[in-house]
């Protein structure tokens, strides 16, 4: 792929804070018009990567271009091509929502009329019209985040950076933010987002880079990542714990596979190459034997499992970080 087709291209990003190595050679290549996820546990280096790419932090080694401009030598041009929603919500709590957007519009060098018009458009787009004349101080977390997002989209940026855009939002709030991100992506904006929520990455991203300890672990599509962990699993729960051994036998007869069980649990689990067939086969065996089931289901591996496997046992996903409130 020629470099001009990349909205973000980073090679060997390295950043040290005293003895802490925040980034230890991160590579990124994000094609124009795609949504790219940056995933990793707390302290993995996601925010540092975003800060370097948005010209907020100087990089020690490596090089990076955003929208074709070098972040080191053409910071000004980079800033004109990007939008940033940082890990912290940065809206002015004293101004009204509309005043916030108009002020940012002015600082983005729009004239008075365009700034006002753009503010109204964005308020509409993010369902904030009713709250336009209220101060974000009194907004819900989701509303503040939407306003924050709106402020980073004033110039409809070529590349939008979102650092944990939905952390702390309720499901409805997340959906609205996702909707906004999808709309932007559909218009051709390239999005680089960091997240701890794997379903979010699954929902939004074309490709995902998993980082940890400042290094790339793997890059793949959401489906590819899931595939790495293997097949679907058939999970079956017996109504009576005493029936579990018989259930294992029946499953083996139907699928020729040995199911895993956990002592004390009435659930068995077995990886199955052909899920639907295994499910129907097992179900008919169970029915023939007259066994009582509490539950039977096919489970696809989640990104969480893929992620935990990739980043190792010690890297437990802890969800939102403390400084985001």
């Amino acid at each position: 792929m020629p470099p001009t087709d990349l909205a973000v291209e980073a090679r060997g990003l390295t950043k040290r804070y005293g003895p802490t190595v925040a980034l230890d050679g991160v590579d990124l290549a994000v094609p124009r018009g795609t949504v790219h996820g940056l995933l990793g546990p707390n302290g993995a280096g996601k925010t540092t990567t975003v800060r370097i790419l948005t010209t907020l932090t100087r990089l020690d080694e490596g090089r990076a271009t955003v929208a074709g401009h070098d972040v080191k030598t053409s910071a000004r041009l980079v800033r004109r091509a990007i939008g940033l929603t940082g890990q912290q919500t940065a809206v002015d709590d004293l101004l009204t929502a509309r005043q916030n957007l108009t002020m940012f519009g002015r600082l983005f060098r729009l004239d008075k009329r365009s700034a006002a018009r753009r503010a109204d458009e964005l308020l509409e787009q993010f369902s904030l019209t009713d709250a336009a004349n209220r101060a974000p101080k009194k907004f819900s977390g989701g509303m503040r985040r939407r306003l924050d997002l709106a402020a980073s989209m004033i110039l409809a940026p070529q590349v939008l950076f979102l650092d944990e855009p939905t952390t702390g939002l309720d499901p409805a709030g997340r959906r609205e933010v996702w909707h906004a991100i999808r709309q932007l992506a559909a218009q051709g904006t390239t999005v680089l987002l960091t997240t701890h929520y794997l379903d979010e990455a699954d929902q939004l991203c074309d490709r995902i880079s998993v980082v940890d300890h400042g290094r790339n672990l793997v890059e793949d599509t959401p489906a590819g990542l899931k595939r790495r962990i293997g097949d679907e699993r058939l999970e079956l729960t017996v109504a009576d714990l005493g029936d579990l051994d018989q259930a294992v036998e029946l499953v083996q007869r139907a699928t020729e596979l040995v199911a895993d069980t956990t002592p004390g649990s009435s659930t068995l689990s077995v990886p199955v190459p052909d899920g639907v067939r295994a499910l129907t086969d097992v179900a008919s065996e169970i029915r023939a034997a007259g066994l009582d089931l509490a539950d039977i289901a096919l489970r696809r591996p989640t990104l969480d499992e893929a992620f935990l496997q990739l980043t190792g046992d010690q890297a437990v996903l802890t969800g939102p970080t403390e400084e985001t409130s």
């Binding site: 912290q88 940065a90 004293l94 101004l95 110039l155 409809a156």
Partner: protein, 285 residues
């Protein structure tokens, strides 16, 4: 989506000439932001003024009656002595009004948002400075109003009185950079709030409320050489405050108060402008 119907938006191209123009325009936008804050939350303004107003009342009416600063007896001429001190102190503590919002903007990610935008980065600082100077002038006007109400009058010519206010704002200008440096240096607003513990003695070990001669030896020397003292003494000279004879003061600097009030801010600027600039650049460390 609604944006599809609009023209593509873009920041206009910059030439070296327009860049300077944009510094002014962006500065203005930031100044307006600060004023909208005041309009939307006038209580902040009231709080900022609360401290000097309480000081005026406390010192003039509680302690003032016991103070003999003029050598003419307890309480005599204290309003005339203390009011210029109050003006100087209001100005001196003004650096907190700079440090606090700077620390706040840094802590809340506002500074980052500004720095990721194509606006002129110096406007972040100049906007703050212009807003602070205007606010200091307003603060000063309010305190002067109170002073006039309780009987204080400048005795010198009008030009001297104006020059005195000029000296006060000159000190405030220099303190903007002290405030920016501190605001960028502290970890968060809490850190900025703690500064008050340092600022308080710095404001009081001065000639603001009592002449340094009345203090024990070394403390008097420190008080006399406090930059705030030079400004306070200089404006007393310009207001022709009765009973204040700086020429015969024990301390050399007191005899050169106006020069001190002009030069101290220069020294502050020489030290703190580079420090503030470096601290600003350190944000991208």
């Amino acid at each position: 989506m609604s944006t599809t119907s609009t023209q593509p938006l873009a920041a206009p191209d910059e030439t070296p000439g327009s860049r300077l123009l944009w510094v002014f325009k962006d500065t203005w936008t930031i100044v307006m932001q600060e004023f909208m804050h005041l309009l939307r939350q006038p209580s902040t303004f009231a709080w900022q003024l609360g401290m000097p107003v309480v000081m005026v009342l406390m010192f003039v009416y509680v302690f003032g009656s016991a103070m003999d600063v003029t050598g003419m007896g307890a309480g005599v001429g204290y309003i005339d002595y203390a009011m210029p001190g109050m003006f100087a102190m209001t100005i001196a503590f003004g650096f907190m009004n700079t440090a606090f919002p700077v620390a706040f903007n840094k802590e809340k990610g506002f500074m980052d948002r500004f720095r990721s935008m194509p606006m002129s980065s110096s406007a972040v600082v100049t906007g703050r400075g212009v807003a602070d100077i205007i606010q200091a002038a307003v603060d000063l006007a309010v305190i002067v109003g109170i002073a006039l109400a309780i009987g204080w009058r400048p005795a010198g010519p009008v030009t001297d009185t104006l020059a005195a206010f000029g000296l006060l704002l000159w000190l405030r200008f220099a303190l903007i950079f002290v405030g920016i440096w501190i605001g960028l240096r502290v970890k968060n607003t809490e850190g900025a709030g703690n500064l008050f513990a340092i600022a308080f003695p710095l404001g009081f070990i001065s000639s603001v409320f009592a002449p340094p001669q009345m203090m024990p030896g070394w403390l008097g020397t420190v008080a006399a050489w406090n930059p705030v003292s030079s400004t306070a003494s200089a404006i007393r000279e310009l207001f022709q405050t009765p009973g204040v004879d700086l020429a015969t003061s024990t301390y050399w600097i007191e005899g050169h108060a106006i020069a001190g009030a002009l030069i101290w801010p220069v020294l502050l600027l020489v030290v703190f402008v580079p420090l503030a600039v470096r601290q600003f650049q350190n944000l991208s460390r």
